[in-house]
């Protein structure tokens, strides 16, 4: 059992480091993701080209790395925006209570009434394609989960003795929230954020698969899979390579989330 867990953490760590490393270093790598080799169209993987070529004769490995950059930066941007926005709204709403809280709860309910991905699809579709609009659409959907979590946790922390003590000593609301409440929220929020990254990576690829995300010639694993589906029989590597990359990253992030949840022993309120 211990061995299995160690193996899983090792696997997840390697995949995530590779993802992170490639995404960060892509601008300095000698990549030719848009270079067209007409004589190599749909060529399968070989010793000269590790992952082969796509339907336009572009190097699949180079496009795969560009796709890693896309998914990585979209994931980070969406997490940063929705985590900070959601936490802020949840904290303040629970702390203030009263009608502010009532309204926030209603808004959260309404957003939760949409299947998340559907709202993202509609938003991204209406805003038009492009990486910024993907980030906007996914953030609009993403903040809700964090707000709900932060609100629920703050509600229970609000009556804890250390918070009451701080209040009795005359600390301001802002100071209490920042110093006495927020630190206790980090663990559950961190775990939620980890699983959030997995769903954002899938959602970004999903939007690009539908043609609503990153536009050509920029690369996304989702649009690479879509391009590949037309050539499934003759060039399965066009789907398998980005598909496997996507699966490995999502799997690694989910495994990491599971481990964090088990180890940090979050007491759900």
């Amino acid at each position: 059992m211990i061995k299995l867990i160690a193996w899983r953490i090792g696997f997840a760590g390697c995949v995530l480091l590779l993802w992170f490393g490639l995404a960060i270093s892509a601008p300095w790598l000698p990549l030719q993701p848009t270079e067209i080799h007409l004589s190599a169209i749909l060529q399968p993987p070989s010793w000269q080209s590790i992952l082969g070529y796509d339907d336009l004769g572009r190097l699949l490995l180079d496009r795969l790395i560009m796709g890693a950059t896309t998914s990585f930066f979209v994931a980070i941007a969406v997490i940063v925006v929705s985590l900070s926005l959601g936490t802020f709204i949840g904290l303040v709403s629970a702390w203030l209570g009263g009608w502010v809280d009532l309204i926030v709860v209603r808004i959260i309910d309404i957003f939760l009434a949409f299947p998340g991905l559907l709202l993202a699809i509609a938003l991204a579709g209406l805003l038009g394609p492009g990486i910024e609009n993907v980030v906007i659409a996914l953030s609009v959907v993403g903040w809700v989960g964090f707000a709900r979590l932060a609100r629920a946790q703050t509600l229970s922390l609000k009556r804890r003795e250390h918070v009451l003590a701080a209040q009795a000593m005359g600390a301001s609301s802002g100071r209490i929230l920042l110093r006495h409440v927020l630190p206790l929220l980090t663990t559950p929020l961190l775990i939620e954020a980890t699983f959030g990254i997995a769903s954002i990576v899938i959602a970004e690829a999903g939007l690009s698969f539908l043609g609503l995300g990153v536009q050509p010639p920029a690369a996304s694993w989702g649009s690479m899979i879509r391009d590949g589906t037309s050539y499934l029989l003759v060039a399965p590597h066009m789907v398998l390579a980005p598909g496997l990359a996507l699966l490995l990253v999502v799997l690694a992030v989910n495994m990491l989330g599971d481990q964090l949840r088990d180890r940090l022993d979050v007491r759900q309120v």
Partner: protein, 307 residues
């Protein structure tokens, strides 16, 4: 119970009202002028004005909102800008296909998850458990738009057993249903496992074993029945994910349902149809969730609601 029903109904109505408002606002977040986006660059000013008046976009926002809500209550969802048909008819045409797909996906999920989850719980910490949970981990991590092409590659192109796409034959349903059901099966089998593990410690399970029932009967009759509540809740909550997943699955398999209509409408900038699709799918989700709550209360007499 009556007050509980009433309060649930009220909050469902408030949420539906909010959802419709948000869907109404969707069209107004489009950058620039929606009329220009709909008609394209070459439209004449007369055409633009005509469409603006036809859609009521020349009125103040709050008036448009009022019209939108009253029309919606009367079942008028506007007309498609592309085919000029009423949006409601377009939606009604597509509902059977999506309902069939979602139902089949749900069936696949339940049929996979209950045996897998039970096996994992009963044989806890054995190879069976690890195997089932590895499947669950993979199932949550593999997106529909990858699962679909992989299944097509295997079963349609290499083995030639099943059709690649379409909805002409009964066999055409198999691959989309598996694609859609896998993720839910994975989540559900984890849930079945953990609730069964809780239940298996109960006294009545020990009693059932003690009076000599065979293990299969104990699991089916005594354990799973008591684990049914959380499983039903999860099914209700996951329906939204299932419906959103159906959008992508329908695109992969050219399945003529609501999802395909949504994406086509988005690409054609056919805003009334996009609004109609989003509205219908979200309404379904809200109503099913509220229904789940009621089923919950009905199944478990211990659940009391004081609102």
């Amino acid at each position: 119970m009556f007050t509980f029903l009433l309060s649930r109904l009220l909050s469902v109505l408030i949420v539906l009202f909010g959802v419709s408002t948000l869907v109404f606002l969707l069209i107004h977040i489009v950058p620039g002028d929606p009329i220009q986006a709909m008609l394209g660059e070459n439209a004449t000013a007369t055409d633009q004005t005509a469409l603006r008046i036809a859609l009521g976009l020349d009125q103040p926002l709050w008036q448009q909102w009022g019209h939108y809500l009253t029309n919606m209550l009367q079942g008028h969802l506007g007309y498609s800008l592309y085919s000029k048909e009423p949006v409601l008819d377009l939606l009604l045409n597509r509902i059977p296909a999506t309902a069939l797909l979602a139902g089949a996906g749900l069936a696949v999920a339940v049929a996979l998850a209950i045996p897998l989850g039970s096996l994992a719980a009963v044989r806890r910490d054995t190879v069976w458990d690890y195997g089932a949970m590895t499947f669950a981990m993979l199932g949550v991590s593999i997106p529909n738009f990858l699962m679909g092409p992989l299944l097509i590659l295997c079963f349609s192109l290499w083995l030639g057993w099943l059709p690649v796409s379409g909805s002409d034959s009964a066999t055409a349903l198999i691959l989309p249903a598996i694609t859609l059901g896998t993720a839910l099966a994975a989540i559900l089998s984890r849930m079945v496992r953990s609730t069964l593990l809780d239940v298996l410690h109960e006294d009545y399970i020990r009693t059932a074993y003690a009076k000599g029932l065979n293990p299969r009967q104990v699991i089916w009759r005594h354990a799973l029945r008591n684990a049914a509540l959380p499983i039903i809740t999860i099914l209700g909550l996951q329906l939204g994910t299932l419906l959103a997943g159906a959008v992508i699955t329908e695109m992969v398999f050219s399945w003529p349902g609501l999802g395909q209509l949504t994406i086509e409408a988005i690409k054609r900038r056919d805003y009334p149809v996009v609004q109609g699709c989003v509205l219908l799918i979200s309404f379904t989700y809200v109503v099913v969730n509220a229904g789940t709550d009621l089923v919950y209360a009905w199944l478990d007499p211990r659940v009391h609601y004081h609102d």
